[in-house]
């Protein structure tokens, strides 16, 4: 450098600017992470492409199907149910969240975690529980009401409640959707600076005026986000309408799609694609609307300094509000589970319960006597175990690459991994049939296609939480490891993975529970060879006993609950060093 002439030094600075940043060579471990991440991305992209290609290839059939007369009826029914239940769910979820976050009626864990329970339980179990409660003849709620009316001297034979109805269908959709809005609104309220509300109160606004002019507008992004989630799951929701909608003779879009694919011979793929496109269109329209509203909005909900709002005193209304919340939780969560439990322990569904005769024999008989059920149960467990373990490991490695390398390609792959969350499960499952069931892969009816589909469906959520786990490790802790002489592999093994473990274990349990409770992909992709609980439940529903249904649902619920609770405890144990602030942020 010292001998360089002035003329040549002048040219150095510009040419030395790295136009394309020179990269360090990828270590084998990183290479593996990249490969995994790309594979996960493809798992979602390929089915979607297949749907698109399939739609083009089968265009006449798609158009023919879309122009059939009963499509309008299907659409009308679906929209009515989804729209009304979404509205109810938003109101109920927002109210629950507000009570829990802003008033003195909150009851700790009860109001904080209980509203989320329907979310963790397989919706099919809930639907069957509600049938047991509200069926016109033998529904337990109806029985209780009739007995009560009988005491008052009003004898009736039937009803008065009927789950197989518009209101029954809408009610179940609502119950299933409330956790979404509760969750989003809780986050929104927590991130919102309470000083905004306090300022309004201090400026002389009443409680209601404050709610209307300050709290609600600030919560708009959360509400929109919740609406998005509810619509996406609502249009694709299959478990509830397949159980209730059929009995009520209210045909729903999702049920028709599954019927066309897995309960019609030969499968009418073109028709199914046509109907699936309607679902995509709905979600796309709302998505556009949401992002437009958010972009225009001036509701940066800054603050979030973690200070808690002073809670609003409800005074005399407090016990009533608490009672209402408890009643809601009891009705939506406890009642249907009780009904399931009673029927599975009783052995058959009747209003005349032999309380002394309840025993586990009936339960186990229903589960294990039938070979298909036994097979489905063991298949579900193994697919769930394999899928969730592969899933969480894959997602951990993908996140390690994606979060740390901020390159454009990493962001692109990240988008590919996460976008299936934006699509209805139905579409992905349909895409799986198109892409993998036939030649060249011929995976139809295999365990592999089930596991792959489960991965595609449930990995987006797992990937969000493992991203957070990587991000929460921060930059300095791994850098300190590098400086201390540890290479890439050792840094990941000794620093990243132990610190991510609590979050990963939790993520694993959610994956497992979702996979064993899955109905949508199971209904479309499962058959006799790769039967799973979700598909078996549908089969039994069509020609089996309610005791069997109840037992299977109860088993599913108990397994899910045990796993989630055990994992919560383990994850706390793993993070025992975390009870005080860690040294590195």
């Amino acid at each position: 450098m010292t001998t360089m002439s002035p003329a040549s030094t002048q040219t150095v600075p510009i040419s030395a600017i790295p136009a394309v940043k020179q990269r360090r060579k990828l270590s084998p471990l990183m290479l593996l992470s990249v490969v995994i991440a790309v594979a996960l991305g493809l798992l979602g992209v390929i089915p979607l492409l297949s749907v698109g290609v399939g739609a083009l290839a089968d265009l006449p059939q798609v158009i023919e199907q879309l122009s059939r007369e009963d499509v309008l009826g299907l659409l009308r029914n679906t929209i009515i149910v989804v729209a009304i239940s979404t509205a109810f769910a938003l109101v109920i979820g927002a109210l629950l969240a507000w009570v829990n976050e802003r008033t003195d009626a909150s009851m700790g864990i009860i109001t904080e975690a209980m509203p989320l329970i329907p979310f963790m339980l397989p919706p099919i179990a809930g639907a069957i529980g509600w049938v047991l409660l509200m069926a016109p003849q033998a529904g337990y709620l109806n029985g209780i009401i009739r007995w009560f009316l009988g005491l008052l001297g009003v004898p009736i034979e039937n009803g008065p409640l009927d789950i197989y109805s518009w209101y029954g269908l809408i009610m179940l959709y609502t119950i299933y959707a409330v956790p979404y809005s509760f969750m989003m609104c809780t986050t929104g309220l927590r991130n919102m600076d309470p000083a905004l509300e306090e300022q309004s109160r201090v400026s002389g606004s009443t409680l209601l005026r404050t709610l209307r002019t300050v709290t609600l507008p600030a919560m708009l992004p959360s509400l929109l986000g919740a609406t998005m989630l509810i619509l996406m799951s609502g249009f694709g929701l299959f478990s509830i309408p397949s159980v209730i909608g059929r009995g009520a003779e209210i045909p729903i879009l999702s049920v028709r799609i599954v019927d066309l694919l897995n309960f019609t011979y030969p499968a009418q793929t073109g028709a199914a694609i046509g109907l699936s496109l309607i679902v995509v269109a709905f979600v796309a329209v709302f998505w556009w609307f949401q992002s437009r509203t958010l972009r225009r909005g001036r509701f940066a909900t800054i603050g979030g300094k973690g200070q808690r709002a002073s809670r609003i005193r409800l005074g005399k209304a407090r016990p009533w509000v608490r009672a209402a919340v408890i009643l809601y939780i009891a009705v939506t969560t406890v009642f249907p589970l009780l009904a399931l439990l009673i029927v599975s322990l009783n052995g058959y569904w009747t209003l005349n319960i032999d309380w002394a005769g309840l025993n586990l024999n009936a339960f186990f008989q229903a589960l294990f006597e039938d070979r298909a059920t036994r097979r489905a149960l063991s298949n579900s467990m193994s697919y769930g175990a394999i899928g969730s373990i592969i899933g969480i490991v894959a997602v951990a490695f993908a996140s390690l690459w994606i979060v740390r390398s901020r390159t454009r390609s990493a962001r692109f792959v990240d988008g590919a991994i996460k976008f299936p969350a934006m699509l209805s499960h139905l579409i992905i499952a349909v895409g799986f049939v198109l892409a993998f069931a036939g030649p060249p892969f011929n995976l139809g009816g295999t365990a592999l296609i089930m596991v792959l589909a489960y991965l595609a469906l449930y990995i987006p959520q797992a990937s969000v939480s493992s991203d957070a786990a990587v991000a929460q490790v921060g930059k300095e802790l791994p850098e300190a490891s590098r400086i201390s002489g540890a290479g890439e592999g050792r840094t990941i093994g000794r620093i990243y993975l132990p610190l991510m473990a609590p979050a990963l274990v939790l993520g694993w349990s959610m994956l497992f529970v979702r996979m064993i409770g899955d109905l949508t992909a199971s209904a479309i992709l499962a058959g006799t060879r790769n039967n799973v609980v979700g598909f078996r439940i549908l089969e039994i529903y069509q020609n089996g006993s309610y005791a069997q249904l109840a037992s299977l649902s109860t088993a599913l619920t108990v397994i899910s609950a045990v796993i989630v609770i055990a994992v919560l405890i383990i994850s706390r144990r793993l993070a025992r060093w975390n009870h005080q602030t860690p040294g590195g942020k």
Partner: protein
């Protein structure tokens, strides 16, 4: 700053055996391309050496490139140009394509948060470098080394605790133990005191200073706090716009800044614009709106007729009855009583310039009073006008 500054011998007593620099930087540069396509120089041709046992502080405002420079030395960032040697071994050379990864550079670093791994005990934290660096060591050897270094920094009894249970002071000691356990004689510090409160900070700083002087490791320490820099450093590198603007002992940085940037960044400075009207031996005679002044050139190459700035520290400005040179009349605008001292702002007659004068004790002059200011010519440092870039 291309000259390899030699150390004044009184600055450090350690490391005489090996006078080869611990770190040697030559023309290190790093550029970022901003979102709008323009190019920003994060580090712009930095060269200096760090001697064994020497404490060098990189001081500058945020965004001046000091942290980037430190991370480049550590290998956590990659420079675009230049060469870096550590312990005489090239660890980075842009043209030769040498780039040694951080885990092979054999240095230690103490991070802003101390970066103690929360899931490992203090013992395991400190043992980590021993277990990670290639050499095979027996368990007993590791235990002995770890316990020895924990004793050395005064936390011998904390081995089984987790970092989350310790105070900031203890965390700093453990971080230091981890940095020194492998016999390292070079520790990089990335603003380690910046997120503790002022009182604790002062204690920790004293403690660190004591340890460094006792144990004799070389240190490169990044901070934006000039008091910290003054207190800790053998030499301070004042950075601005990716360049090292001045590298010298703290006293020299304060009393003999070689640029308006450094003079303004360190302490308080009065600046009076003027033109060089005559040269009188080693003094310059200046013509300013406030009157004739005499001063000493702070840099070479100032010549007759140049537009310059006369820089004066407030403590050298006196309110006097008379003086034989540098007598500036003005009106007292504001008097601030600060306890041990009193600061008076005086507007110089015939100019918009306000000069701050520091005097011991209680105020003597009232606001609005006409006074005469005097600065001894040896304390008037004359700097070229056009040189505030990089701020």
């Amino acid at each position: 700053m291309s000259s390899h500054a030699t150390l004044q011998s009184e600055v450090h007593a350690v490391g005489q055996a090996d006078l080869r620099p611990v770190i040697s930087l030559r023309n290190v540069a790093k550029r970022f391309r901003r979102a709008d396509g323009t190019v920003a120089n994060a580090i712009d041709g930095v060269s200096f050496d760090v001697a064994p046992g020497e404490f060098v502080v990189l001081l500058g405002p945020s965004g001046c490139g000091k942290t980037t420079l430190l991370r480049t030395i550590a290998g956590l960032e990659r420079a675009d140009e230049g060469e870096i040697d550590i312990h005489g071994r090239p660890v980075f050379a842009a043209e030769a394509g040498i780039e040694v990864p951080p885990e092979k550079r054999n240095l230690s670093m103490i991070f802003q948060s101390y970066a103690l791994w929360p899931h490992l005990t203090v013992f395991d934290n400190v043992a980590y470098p021993l277990r990670s660096r290639g050499k095979k060591r027996s368990k007993a050897e590791i235990a002995e080394k770890v316990n020895h270094v924990l004793e050395l920094v005064g936390v011998g009894n904390l081995g089984r605790q987790y970092p989350g249970q310790m105070s900031g002071g203890q965390q700093q000691r453990v971080a230091l133990a981890r940095a020194l356990v492998d016999g390292g004689d070079l520790v990089l510090f990335d603003e380690p005191l910046s997120n503790v409160d002022a009182k604790v900070r002062e204690t920790l700083r004293r403690e660190l200073l004591e340890m460094q002087r006792r144990l004799g490791f070389a240190a490169v320490y990044v901070t934006h706090d000039q008091n910290e820099a003054m207190e800790l450093a053998h030499r301070v590198a004042v950075m601005g716009g990716g360049k090292v603007r001045q590298l010298a002992a703290p006293a020299e940085i304060y009393s003999a800044p070689t640029s308006r940037y450094v003079s303004n960044f360190i302490g308080t400075t009065n600046e009076i614009e003027a033109t060089v009207s005559a040269v009188d031996g080693d003094r310059l005679v200046l013509d300013s709106a406030a009157g004739e002044m005499r001063g000493v050139p702070a840099v070479e190459g100032i010549s007759l007729g140049d537009r310059v700035v006369a820089c004066v520290r407030p403590e050298h400005v006196r309110i006097v009855e008379s003086a034989d040179h540098n007598l500036l009349p003005g009106v007292v605008e504001r008097v601030l009583f600060l306890g041990p001292t009193t600061e008076s702002s005086v507007r110089l007659n015939g100019t918009g310039n306000t000069v701050r004068a520091m005097g011991l004790g209680a105020p003597v002059h009232a606001e609005g009073e006409q006074v005469l200011l005097h600065v001894p010519a040896s304390h008037v440092r004359v700097l070229p006008l056009e040189d505030r870039a990089g701020e």
